[in-house]
């Protein structure tokens, strides 16, 4: 084999032939790797996203400076409105890479403000998307952060009571832990991807408090099998499973908007009942895979290695795991 074509392409390569930012189909890009801004810029109908309090407003944390820490111009939360496949929505996206996507004074207020606006204004979109990516409360602003979590949860339930559908989507680096895990639980529906991790107490905290024998946070496979998206979806802790791509999340969120169940005392009671049943049913299970066996999933050990398409196909066949008791 010898090279058969003349290689005089330097001139053509230096002419700025525009690879452009569309080299890869944006639709196939990873949700997990994307920044919050990348997510809001690519999830919606092109040009439809309008940001409230954009970075140029410089609404930053009043506290981080005291700790010698750099602020972010959006304090790690992007809020705005947009259109998703023809549906008007309000959206909040946490940036998991900035301070772990944490709840704090400003970032919390942006979330609360958005949810309350939805609650109070019937002319605003009747759907709110929370693109969660957060380890919980920002330690440097712990009081404001804890308060923010409580206010967000209250605002979610109030908005839902007012007829707003609130969908949480989890699939970023920080997952949804602490206040974000609690917030997710209050939503109308939860979308999760394989990489999405949902929990209240993070694996490291469990290990610190209960010992490594109880939970080895360095055993990534163990952590994944417990808090990861597939287990959460199989047990009903999340409602809709998304492939880790913009297309995947767009599709899953669209489905969640349609499927979200009404919020009432009746639905809460039903959920409580199902949760009690679930706690009993899996009480004896030592490993996540035991729970999947208990769910009568065929070949439960194969779940961790299968691709997203196979897992989604499996979910379609096993309707028993598809209910909204979380």
């Amino acid at each position: 084999m010898t090279g058969t074509h003349a290689s005089n392409q330097r001139s053509s390569s230096s002419s700025a032939e525009s690879a452009g930012s569309k080299v890869l189909d944006q639709a196939g890009m990873s949700w997990f790797l994307a920044t919050a801004r990348h997510r809001v810029e690519n999830l919606f109908e092109p040009g439809s996203f309008v940001e409230f309090l954009p970075p140029s407003e410089r609404v930053v944390s009043p506290h981080l400076d005291t700790f010698g820490l750099p602020s972010a111009f959006d304090d790690g939360v992007i809020v705005g409105r947009a259109r998703l496949d023809g549906t008007d929505v309000l959206v909040a996206a946490q940036e998991g890479q900035f301070m772990g996507g944490t709840f704090a004074e400003v970032s919390g207020a942006k979330l609360v403000g958005l949810l309350r606006a939805a609650r109070d204004n019937a002319e605003l979109p009747r759907a709110v998307l929370l693109l969660l990516d957060s380890g919980g409360v920002r330690l440097q602003e712990a009081n404001a952060g804890e308060l923010a979590v409580a206010e967000v949860m209250r605002a979610v339930t109030e908005a839902r009571s007012a007829g707003v559908v609130v969908v949480a989507a989890v699939g970023g680096r920080a997952g949804a832990f602490g206040g974000a895990g609690l917030t997710a639980a209050t939503c109308s529906a939860i979308v999760v991807s394989e990489q999405g991790r949902i929990g209240v107490t993070g694996p490291e905290v469990i290990e610190t408090n209960k010992g490594v024998e109880e939970f080895d946070s360095k055993d990534k496979a163990l952590v994944w099998s417990v808090v990861g998206g597939r287990n959460r979806r199989l047990l009903g802790g999340a409602d809709i499973y998304a492939e880790d791509s913009f297309d995947g999340f767009r599709k899953a969120i669209g489905e969640a908007l349609k499927r979200a169940s009404p919020f009432s005392l009746k639905s809460l009671r039903a959920e409580q009942k199902r949760l009690a049943k679930r706690a009993k049913r899996f009480a004896a299970c030592e490993q996540a895979v035991d729970m999947w066996k208990e769910l009568r999933v065929p070949d439960p050990a194969a779940i961790r290695d299968m691709d997203d398409a196979s897992f989604i196909a499996l979910l379609e066949k096993h309707g028993e795991t598809s209910h909204d008791a979380r």
Partner: protein, 547 residues
């Protein structure tokens, strides 16, 4: 009277000493140390494979346990110093002299041993160079090899990890040495024969399968944006204009980034079929997406990689397989292929000096060379022309086109600052300081200045072929050395002149859009993605599984 068969007689004596421990060729694992004590003599040259990947770990432990009064002053001649036991041999005084190639995982320990004076170092070789010396002046008296299976006649089956064994065994067996093999199991019939039994004297079935180091698995999730930028520049600034089809990639995240950009970025550039079709390369998992999208015509491998067996077996059009269907590697052949039949080597390094010499040695680590200096050198014995080789030759020389040899492209890819913000560009290599300290005759230089043709950093590409004198070379190197002392010491006017002549190319000169530089551009984002690309055939090692 002249004795012509002294070596043969010596071999017979040793075999006799060993045979009382054997049934036929089979020795019980419990007798391993006694066997080695019986067949090895003080001062012997011993090769204890010791490859890049597979390890005769059981027999390494057995040799460490040998009685020092019976075995001492061994001269270890093996390519890889990989296991702690390899160093224990020197700590215990069983071995005193060392000629080797690669010590990646033990780089720190090797540096300490050299400092302590417990090792008399012959030389650090490239693989092919050490193998060559097996046939000239470093022929082993005893070779300790390792295989998956043996039959009772001593035939050996190694699966994809054939690696160094054929060359080690031939050099030893044909020069009246003794060959011992540790095997995972003894079976009646082998799937294929990698080493014929008449070259093997003793076999030992071990309690545990031998250890294989997963060396070539790079988690796509650990690739940085800067590495993606450099990979894009390399594709547009080197692979595309030279039309690089036949090549070798070093280990590292930079080259992994190139592999993962083939089905995305390079596809959009229309380069499929134009570049990266034929590889001399270990089975890198990060090449799976490119293989699956039809980029790659064929790959010959030095060794194997943990978890790739089933994938390779299912892609016989791509890899070299034995009749049993399993991949068959060979480090000697593949190194020769990489030397003579590729047009480009690209790899990472740790330090580059103002002339362009590069080294991976630091004051406290001697990782050795492996194959890089061989891949990364211009073979003056090459005579067959290819377009990239001729183009590089023309850039380098103004002699008559029909009389000027071509040139292999040797590319060093390096971020201007390494770990802990240590500058990658230096006035004096650590390798040189170390050589002075240890009174070595040669500084352990990975790629010499006269072999390197291009240096790629995040700041740009320096095309050293287009530099006409030492001063231009220095300025071209300074011109891509970023904000290191070396980079800041540039002559700005000269650097701009070099840029005007395309001896320096910036990302904007290449039309690399900075907005394209994003992690999502990689064809796989995780080891799990690689597995998915492979249709579940790739079975990643446990330490890379985070799901």
């Amino acid at each position: 009277m002249t004795v012509w068969d002294g070596q043969k007689n010596e071999r017979e004596r040793r075999l006799r000493d060993g045979r009382h421990l054997a049934k036929g060729k089979v020795v019980a694992s419990a007798d391993a140390t006694r066997l080695l004590e019986a067949i090895i003599r003080p001062g012997d040259r011993v090769c204890l494979e010791g490859d890049n990947q597979k390890q005769a770990d059981f027999l390494a432990q057995a040799l460490v346990q040998a009685d020092k009064s019976r075995i001492h002053d061994l001269h270890i001649v093996q390519s890889g110093i990989v296991l702690p036991e390899h160093l224990d041999l020197f700590e215990k005084g069983i071995a005193t002299k060392l000629d080797y190639s690669y010590s990646g995982p033990q780089g720190g320990a090797v540096a300490r041993l050299l400092n302590s004076g417990k090792v008399e170092l012959g030389a650090i070789h490239t693989y092919i160079e050490l193998f060559a010396r097996y046939f000239v002046d470093l022929t082993p008296h005893v070779a300790i090899t390792v295989a998956r299976q043996a039959d009772r006649d001593g035939n050996l089956y190694m699966g994809p990890n054939v690696e160094d064994s054929p060359v080690v065994v031939e050099a030893t067996a044909f020069k009246q040495g003794i060959v011992v093999a540790q095997v995972n199991e003894i079976v009646a019939k082998l799937p294929r024969v990698d080493v014929p039994g008449d070259r093997v004297d003793f076999i030992i079935e071990t309690p545990q399968p031998f250890y294989v180091e997963p060396l070539f698995t790079r988690d796509p999730a650990a690739i940085t944006e800067t590495q993606i930028l450099m990979a894009m520049m390399t594709l547009k600034g080197i692979y595309q204009p030279y039309g690089i089809k036949r090549l070798n990639h070093g280990i590292g995240f930079n080259t992994a980034a190139i592999e993962l950009l083939l089905p995305t970025y390079a596809e959009k550039l229309g380069l499929k079929g134009e570049i990266c079709t034929h590889f001399a390369l270990n089975p890198h998992p990060t090449l799976i997406p490119a293989i699956e999208t039809g980029w790659v015509t064929q790959i010959h491998s030095f060794g194997s990689e943990v978890g790739m067996d089933a994938y390779m077996a299912a892609r016989p059009d791509i890899y070299f397989l034995g009749r049993d269907g399993a991949m068959a590697s060979n480090r000697m052949y593949c190194q020769v292929a990489g030397l003579y039949a590729t047009d480009l080597f690209i790899g990472a390094t740790l330090q580059i000096d103002l002339a362009g010499n590069s080294s991976t040695v630091t004051q406290d680590r001697i990782a050795g060379f492996g194959g890089a200096p061989n891949m990364g050198s211009d073979p003056h014995g090459r005579r067959h022309p290819t377009d990239p080789w001729l183009k590089a030759g023309r850039e380098a020389s103004s002699a008559h086109p029909k009389l000027s040899r071509g040139k292999k492209l040797v590319v060093q890819m390096i971020e201007t600052f390494g770990k802990g913000l240590s500058p990658s560009f230096v006035e004096k290599l650590d390798a040189l300081s170390l050589a002075e300290k240890l009174k070595m005759e040669l500084a352990p230089v990975m790629v010499y200045a006269d072999d390197v043709t291009h240096i790629v950093t995040e700041e740009g590409i320096a095309n050293l072929l287009l530099c006409r004198d030492a001063d231009e070379r220095e300025q071209a190197i300074r011109g891509v050395a970023g904000y290191t002392e070396v980079g800041r010491g540039r002559n700005k006017r000269k650097v701009e002149e070099l840029r005007a002549r395309k001896a320096i190319l910036r990302p904007e000169d290449l039309g690399v859009n900075p907005l394209d530089v994003q992690l999502s551009m990689l064809a796989a984002r995780s080891v799990k993605d690689l597995m998915t690309w492979s249709g579940g055939l790739y079975d990643p090692p446990a330490k890379f599984r985070n799901w």
